[in-house]
Each structure stands twice: as structure tokens, then as C-alpha cells.
Symmetry: C2
Subunit: 696 residues, 2 copies
Amino acid sequence: MNLPGFLDVSTVSIIVAVIALVYAVGLIINVLMQDTGSQKMRDIAKSIQEGASAYLNRQSFTILVFAVLIFLLLAYVIPKGAHNNGLLLAVGFFVGALFSALAGYIGMSVSVRANVRTAQASSHSLKKGLMVAFRGGAVTGLSVVGLALLGVAGFYAIFTKLLGVPAGETPNLLIGFGFGASLVSLFARVGGGIFTKAADVGADLVGKIEKGIPEDDPRNPAVIADNVGDNVGDCAGMGADLFETYAVTLIAAMILAASALTDTLGTSGIEYPLALGSIAVLASIAGTWFVRLGKNKKNIMMALYRGMIVTGVLSAIGFYFVTDSMIGDINIFYAAVVGLVVTLFINVITEYYTSTAYKPVRKIAKSSETGAGTNIISGLAVGLESTFLPVILIVTAIIVAYFFGEASVAQSGIYGIAIAAVAMLSTTGLVIATDSYGPITDNAGGIAEMANLPEKVRKNTDALDAVGNTTKAVTKGYAIGSAALAALVLFQAYTEELTKATDKEFIFSLSDYRVIVGLFIGGLLPFIFASSLMESVGKAAHKIVVEVRRQFKDIKGIMTGKAKPEYGKCVDIVTKAALKEMIFPGILAVTTPILVGVFLGPIVLGGLLVGVIIVGFLMAISMSTGGGAWDNAKKYIEDGNYGGKGSDAHKAAVVGDTVGDPYKDTAGPALNALIKVINTISLIIAPLIAGLVIWS
Amino acid sequence: MNLPGFLDVSTVSIIVAVIALVYAVGLIINVLMQDTGSQKMRDIAKSIQEGASAYLNRQSFTILVFAVLIFLLLAYVIPKGAHNNGLLLAVGFFVGALFSALAGYIGMSVSVRANVRTAQASSHSLKKGLMVAFRGGAVTGLSVVGLALLGVAGFYAIFTKLLGVPAGETPNLLIGFGFGASLVSLFARVGGGIFTKAADVGADLVGKIEKGIPEDDPRNPAVIADNVGDNVGDCAGMGADLFETYAVTLIAAMILAASALTDTLGTSGIEYPLALGSIAVLASIAGTWFVRLGKNKKNIMMALYRGMIVTGVLSAIGFYFVTDSMIGDINIFYAAVVGLVVTLFINVITEYYTSTAYKPVRKIAKSSETGAGTNIISGLAVGLESTFLPVILIVTAIIVAYFFGEASVAQSGIYGIAIAAVAMLSTTGLVIATDSYGPITDNAGGIAEMANLPEKVRKNTDALDAVGNTTKAVTKGYAIGSAALAALVLFQAYTEELTKATDKEFIFSLSDYRVIVGLFIGGLLPFIFASSLMESVGKAAHKIVVEVRRQFKDIKGIMTGKAKPEYGKCVDIVTKAALKEMIFPGILAVTTPILVGVFLGPIVLGGLLVGVIIVGFLMAISMSTGGGAWDNAKKYIEDGNYGGKGSDAHKAAVVGDTVGDPYKDTAGPALNALIKVINTISLIIAPLIAGLVIWS
């Protein structure tokens, strides 16, 4: 790149990461300067802030207990030879967990402050509302990528420059950072997902169905808990998830380059992913400037698309030059473009399956006419079907990226896949911004409702929120699609790690019954994990139902508006339930690869990794998209179709939406975290179990 | 075995098969001699008979079109060298399809005659009712295993003795017979599954939910269609399915022995599976004698268990001696015992998940208190969770059977798995008998209701039917479990076939991106297939709803019982809908492996095979068991829990049951057929595509 000597790739990446963070601080200041509306609005916002902070603090404490335990294990159990140094791995792990949690905190803290300001801004115009909400979302986006890039590039720089670790051995140490991020993302997704949907479902079951009061009605005792849930689940949970996916994908590509491609690419192959990341971060910042309502003031989706397209195009241009200077092979550039194209198509595909404008959602809406039973059958069918195009897309991406990787100087198809995954995730900053603005507008609508703002305000926030539903679904597809690609790279790294530890080649053949056993167990995990999460939401929602019913009975005057419900009790109940319920899935995810690795050996564990990727991908897409389609089928009916609000079809659609909630916001997205945490753990224990040949 | 010279294994097997068929004829005569009750009962039974025959005839015709096409393709496109002779393959295919259809016809014809006789017998006593129904079921069971054993042993004898094909090359020709059976089972499962659930759901939606009339009420215009559905789906469809699983498992084991084990086992290894089958058929006949109500007249399940246990124990004893004389290695006997033990455990596990006596069903029932939404969430969670124990069971069986196979003279772990699968399926005759008695009692209950028989009769048939729900779920678990084992053997045969055709070793490594692509596509197939079937049931049920509503409106006096509904119209509508809807999934299943094999090559196809086995197994178990649990949760509430019949919890449970219907009786069981048809087709085209190396 003809950089001055002191400006190597990792230093530039660190500078870019700091720019992103500084820019985020600027956005925070901008958001905080906005008008917060009336005292009543501030009071409501404060309740949400307090609930969200209280939950996140307690969740962080729970994670901390796990993290300290794992820190000690890493530092003292990993023998010297493996990964060179257990202590470095442990430190990386801790910082990874810390940064991930920090990204979540920043995002959530801004989110719970942008909500009330968005509500106030929406009382002026849709345009102003979008502006405030999107800026709030952009803070999360830029914090996530800024911290992730800072962490990966920073550790890389520290290891190579301060500690003098050879560049080729550094990426293996970075996996500690990735694992820390994985662990936090797992718990954040699981805990946040259970919180948000238990509160949502519980509030709806009594409020909407039994009492017939609208969503976000201040008379509903669970209404604050519901709004808190949007922040801890959709904002903090999603942020931690993508932080991890972003970081681990970078690291996986670097490990691959370090372990298998130093002959062909040298150090450039290791640092190239950082360069791609840096460019896309700058492009994402530029992209945020283009998110503005155009002449057609209604077309919010187009405003967001404009930002994405600008980011994509700028990234592609930057990728071209950086590839030319670092690798000097157009094939690698093409592999990167594959990643950008996948992002584009995932948008289109997800919109098709979840937008009210197309057949799938309308099919579900129509089937609601004959009752809840047919609505559910139809929604399940759409969810199952919605895996089709994403699989074709990912499979095509694998084939094409592999081809370019193989044809390049790297002579490595899997490096092509790794670069496609890195490129795909490089625009994460902007993707999160468009997603994370969703919970902000959702909250803004809630505040508008609770503070009795004029109809018009709610209409504006509703318009913003409707788009948020689609962007949320898109982001989930994006996260899981990139996770699948990244996980394949991690699997490759796992096999390299085994070989390095034993000097033997490991072959994972489908004719080997141990691989089949592994595939079965790996395929089973998403089933058990998703089942446990669905169950948890059901249990926690049940507790909310009981409490809300109690308050309506015991506190006279809630329904007439004369008495205030005890919001805090509901927040407290979901908090406790979510923290309790996240333990089992967390332990399941962390211990299964270790137990399988130790007792059934490295070959079975390899099969397990691929099994969890394939089945996890299919189920995550099916649940996320299916849930989104159910939600929007309800909205389509509420728009006046098939009898509109209050009709029998609407009642059936509300049931579908209730089922879709844990599908799309708890189980589906958490599978992504499951896939990644299992892969990173396996990579860490690979050198320890490589020698265990339990059966021949 | 020290048999006289002319009595070799295949001859003995043919004799045993004929004994089974003759015994079935005896049972038919016995059933037909029973009292058919009043004229009204006979009339109702006649409507069901006519509807069932009409449907099965038209379904057979549709399949015939496909079959002729495939016959010609096999006979003229398969080049001489591959599989030796395309014409022999084609003839086998045709006979396989014919026998499978025949087994279905026999079973259904007896079933629609045993129903009315069971109703009449139940008016005397529970004991008599059980006797007639079980004998009716045993006809299907013995016809299925008799025809399957006759087909496999018969072709083997013809090839080796009349045509002089060397024993080692014969099994490869048998795959034609297996493929014919697969094709019929696919269409029978799909068409029958759509028919039965469209009629059931459609009848319930208007009858139970809109009009508030009970199940099987003669005023419901779809009531005959519903009863026809029990026969064409649960009886004929299930019979064809297990015919295929039984035959293909035998063939897969024989192919394996022929292609890889002639050095160690000689011809004995090829013929040994036939010997196991013969013994278990005799044991099954003996087992039927022990199905009798004991002192505790209520315990119907125990009566059925007694038959199964006797069959299992007799089979094990027989296996011991036949293994000793043919193989002379106790390890192979142990492998066979693994199969019998798996059958036992599948019973226990399935009962746990689907019986009203245990936690899973009660959890769903409890969650119905808070509405349909939580009922569905809970049911989905139970379905997902119910994969856990079956996976552990199958994985353990794989490991243990592999171990014994490896330790045996065969020195082949996969042969151990093959023998476990054969042993597991050898008792199919009795398993079908206990399953197929379900639709008979279901129908008997319907006839009792429609003919206004005394309360007591209905109570007896209900008692019989409740057990039928569990045995149906058990049979599905049994079929899919054995299919998974058999499919693994087929995959092995596929790789041997490729090697034989090219003289190169084919390795399906998880590090090969083509395998990953195949796994993704294979994993996708069950999702698309199940989605399409759920959708089809929804569509067809919708048509029934419209027609039933029309009849209630247009034909005055239906509700008062003064006018008779036009039952035939409903039967006709479901018939047309089922036949139309079975085309897409049928073509999907048949063409996908061919297209993938030809355009993406044999390695991708190998990955696809394993992908469809893993994901198909998980989804089939989840859907079959989840659906059964939903059904019984409703029954548990109807028994007076959580408010009993007519309560809000009951209404929620009815929604869950409606969703569970296509889950357990259409999509779930059809996945089994999907797995097998894809595996048999791939085995047939293996020699043709082995040379196609599309990508390196």
C-alpha cells in the first residue's frame, strides 16, 4: 500500500477503529442534545433506562462468574506448547468479553436515551424522527465495529510488535479474544432474547387478549418490561452477537492465512482481512451520511438502502485498491465482492419472505381466515420454505468464492471463502445501524402511547417501526449467513490445529462412523438449544401473566387509569427468570464440545462442528424469517385486510405472532451464537484433544 | 444350518414368506366371518370402502404413470456394464412397486372391512373388539413382510439359480426392487398423508370449531372423507412405507456383504440377512397369538407389549442359532441383538414423549391454560426436545453395532450396523399389526358414532383407539430410526458403487467444500419437502372447509338430521387435491439427486445423502413425536384436566392438535420415504455419474 514505514496495516486499523469510536462519541453528543419532550416522557424513559441498566448489570455479573472461571482454566490448564501461551489466550479472552460487553452497554445506553428523543422528534416530522433514531442506531453500529477492530488489530500489534511473537503464530492467540466475544454473545443473545420475548408475550397475553387494551398501553403492568426488553434483546443482544461474528470472522481468516498460506501470501495474507475491515468502517461512516428521506418522504426503506448501497460501493472501490497493493491478484478481490453481493441478496431475499408486499406473508394472512390452526400451519410452512433461497445463495457463494480462492495466488479455495465472509461482515457497522434503529423507534412508539402524545406522532413512529421489522429480519439473515461461512473457516482452522499438534493428517470422512456420530450430535444441538429457549420464554411469560393478572385484581383503578401499576415488579420478575433460564443453554453450549472432544475424540468433535453449522443455519433462518413473516402477516391484517383489526382473522394472526416472537427473537438468533461459541471452544481445545484417539 | 441340499437360505425364506401370506389369508377369512352388525353400520362401512378404493385406484394410476416412465428409463438408459443389466433392474423395479402397492391394497381392503366388525365386536366386549381389530392389523403386517421377503428372496433365487448370476453380483440387481418399493412408498406416504389430514383438519375446522358438533358426527359432510383418510394414510401409506424400509434394509445389507465382504464371509454374509428375516417372520406369527387382554382387562397396551416381547425373545433365540451356523461368530449375533434392543427402547422413549402419563404431554396441556399461543410454543418445544433420546439411542447403536461388526470375522463395522438395522426391522410384521389396528379402531369408533350405537360401544372403541395413538407414534419412530441406520448402509454401498465404476477411491471429507455444499443441499431438502406438504394439507383442508360450509348452507336440514350431507363430494375433493398436491414433492424427491449428481457430481451427491439422513431423521422425529404429544395433550384435557372439554384450555389444545395433525401424519412420516428414495436413486445412478468430475 506504499504506506510510510511506521504506518503498517495494524496501526492503520487501530487508527480507523479509533476514528469510528470518536465518531460514535460525536453521534452520542448529538443525540443527547436533542429535545427530550415533556416531563411525563422523561419519566417513562427513565423507567426504561433503569430497568435496562439493572438487567444488563445483573446479566454482566452472571457472565462475569463464568468468565472468571474460564479465564482461570485458560490461564492454568492450557499447557505452554499449545497456542504458545495460555496466559496470553486468557488475557485475550477477558478483553474480548469486556469489549463485547462494552459495545452492548454503549449501544443500550444510547438506545434508551434516543427513544424518548425520537418520540419528541417524530412530533415534528418523520424526517427528524428517522434522523434521531438512525443516529442512535449508528452509535451501536460504530461502537461494535470500532471496538472489534480495535481489539483484533490491537492484539495483533501488541503480539507482533511488543511481545515479538512471529506474525504467523499471532492469529492463534487471537482466538482467545474471539472466544471471549463468543461467550458474551451467547449469554447476551440467550438472556436478552428470553427477557424481551417473555415480557412481550406476557404483556400481550393479558393486555391484548384478556383485557383488550392496545399495545404499549400504560395501564399494562408489563409495559415497561416490554420496552426494556427491546433494548436488552434487540439492541444489546444483537450488538454482542455481531461484535462476535465480526471479530471471529476476521480472526478465522487470519488464522487460516497464518497456518496454511504463509508460503504463498506471506504476512500480507494475515493482515489483509484487517485492511478490508478498515476500509469498510470508513465506508460505513460515509454511508451514514446518505441515510436521508428523499423526495418521496414515505420511503424509509429506500433511505436505509441508500446508505447501504453507498457503503457497499465505496467498500468495493477501496477493496480493489487494497487488494491490488497487498495481494496483487484480482481473484481475491472477486472473492471479496462475493461477500458484498451476498449481503445485497440477503436483503432482497429476506424482504421477499417478510414484507407484506409479497406472497409468503399474504399466504399466512389469508390462512388466518380459517383460524389460528391454519395460520400456524401456514407460518411453519413459510418458515421451512424460507431456507431455500438462503441455502442456494450460501452454497453458490461457497462455490464461487472457493473458485476464486483456488485460482488466486493463495491457491486456497477456503481462503476465498474466508475473504468473502470478511467482506460480507465488513459493512457490519452500517447494517447494525439500520437494525438497531428498530428498537429505538419501537420504544419511541411506546413512549408516545404512554405519554398520550397526539395520534400523528404514533403514526410517524409506527412508520419507522414497520421498516424496523424488516431490517431486523435482514440483520438476522446476515448474521447467520456470515456465521455459516465463518464457521466453515473455523472448522478448517480446527483441522489445521489438530494436524499441527500431532503432525498427523486428520481426515473427516463421511464413511467414518465417528464423523456420522458427530454429525448426529451436532445436528441435535440446535434442536435441544432452541427447545430449551422456547420453553424458557414460555415459562417466564407464564410468570408475567400471573403477576399482571394479580395486579389487575389487587390494585383497584388500574383499568380506569386512576392507579399506577407496579411496573418494577414485572421488570424484576423477567430479570430473574431470564438470568435463571440462560444458565442451562449456556452450559449446554460451552460444555458439549469439551465433553465430546474429551470422551469421544477429535474426529467426532469435527463431525459435531459441521453438524451444528448445517442444522443451526437451516433452523436459524427458518425461525428468524418465519417469525418475521408471522409478525407482518398480523400487520397486514391490521392494515385492513381480511377483516382488519378485531376480526377473527386478526385474532388468529395474533396467535401466530405470539408463536413467532420466541422463534424470531430468542431461539433463531441465539443459534448463531451457539454455532460460533462451539466452534471457538473447539479451536481452543483442539491441541489438547488432538492426541486422544478413543476409537480407531 | 445343516439344511438338506435343496433347502438353501433363499428357498427357506421363500417358504417362510408364503407361510406368512397364507396365514394372512387365514386371518382375512376369520375377520370376514365376524358379524357386521346392522344394515346402517354396513351402509356406513360401504361408503368408507368405496371412498378408500376409489382413492387408492386413482393414486395407483398416478404412480403407474411415473413407474412406467422410470421403467423405460431404467431398461433403456442404464448401460449394460452398470448394474450388469438395466432390464433386470427395471423388472425388479416394477415388481417392487407392484408388491408394495399390493401390500397397501390388501391392508386397506381388510382394514375397511375390519372396522365395522370391530365396532360390532366392541358392542359385546373390549376383548372381542381388540381381537378383531388386531387380527385386521395383523393382516397388513404379515402381508407387508410376506411380500417383501418373497420379493427379495425370490429375486435372489431367480438371479442366482435361474439366470446364473454369481451370488456376489446379485444384490446390486435387487436395488431395482428396492427402488420400486421406495417410489410407491414416497407417493403413498405423501398422497395418503395429505388426504388423511386435509380431511381431518377440514372436518374439524367446520364441524368441531364452527358448528360445535362432535368428532365423527354423521351430520358432518366430511366425516366419511375423514374415515377414508385413516385407511389410505395410516394403513395403506404406512404399509407401503414399512414394506420399503424392510425390503431396502435387507437389500442394503446384502449389497454391502456382496461388495465388500465376500473375502471374509463368503456367500453366507449375503444370505444371512434373509435368514434373520425368515426367523423373525415366524416369531411374529407366534407373537400375534400372545396379544390378548390379561386379567387386568383394561391394559390394552400390555396386551400389545406381550406380543412384541414374545416376538423379540423368540427372534433373539432364533438369531443365536442361525448366526452360529451361518457366521459362527457371537459378535454378529450381538450386533443383531443391538437392533432388537433399539426397537425396545424406541417404544419406551416414544411412550414417554407422547403418553398422557408423563411430563412432556402434561406440560403442553398446562400451557394451554394461557391460550393457543403458549400451547403451540410448548408443543414446538417438546417436538424439538423429543429428538434428544432418539439421537442418543441411534448414536449408541451405531457405536456398539460398529464395534461388534469390527470385532467379528466380517471385520466390518458397517456390516455390524447393517445387521442391527436388519434385526431391528425383522419384527416389522408385528409392529405393523400393533400400528395398523389403530385406524381400524379409529374407524370403528366413527361407525359406532354414526350408527348411533350405545355409549358403551364407543367407550370400548375409544379405549382401543387411545392406545392406537401411542402405537402409531412408536411405529413412526421405529420406521425413521431404522431408516437412518439403513440409509447409512446405503451410503456405504453408494461409495462402493462409485469405486467399482471408476477403480478410484472416493473420499467424502468434511474439509472438501463439495461435501459441505452437498450437506447444505441435503439438509435443505427435508425443510422444503415438509414445507410443501404442510402447505398442501392447508390448501386441501381449505377446500374442504369451503365445501362443508356450502353444504351446511345449501342443504337445509343437515343440522337437524333430516337431510343427509353429500359425503361423496368431500371424498372427491380431497382425492383430487391429494393427487394434485403429491406431484411436486414427488418430483422434487426423485429429480433432486439426479440433477445434483449430473450437474454437481458424485461428491456433492454423497454429501447430500448424508445431509438428508441427518436432518431428515431429526425433523421426522421432531414432527412425529411433537404431533403425537399435541394430540394427547388435547386428550389429557378432555379427560377432565385444566377445565376439561369445552374449556378455554381445551379450545387452545384443539388448535395445537390441528397443527400437530399434518406434523405427525403427513410431513413427519413422509420424510422417511424421502430419505430412502433419494438414497436408492443415488445408488442406481452411481455408476453413471461416477466418472463425472465436475470440479476438482
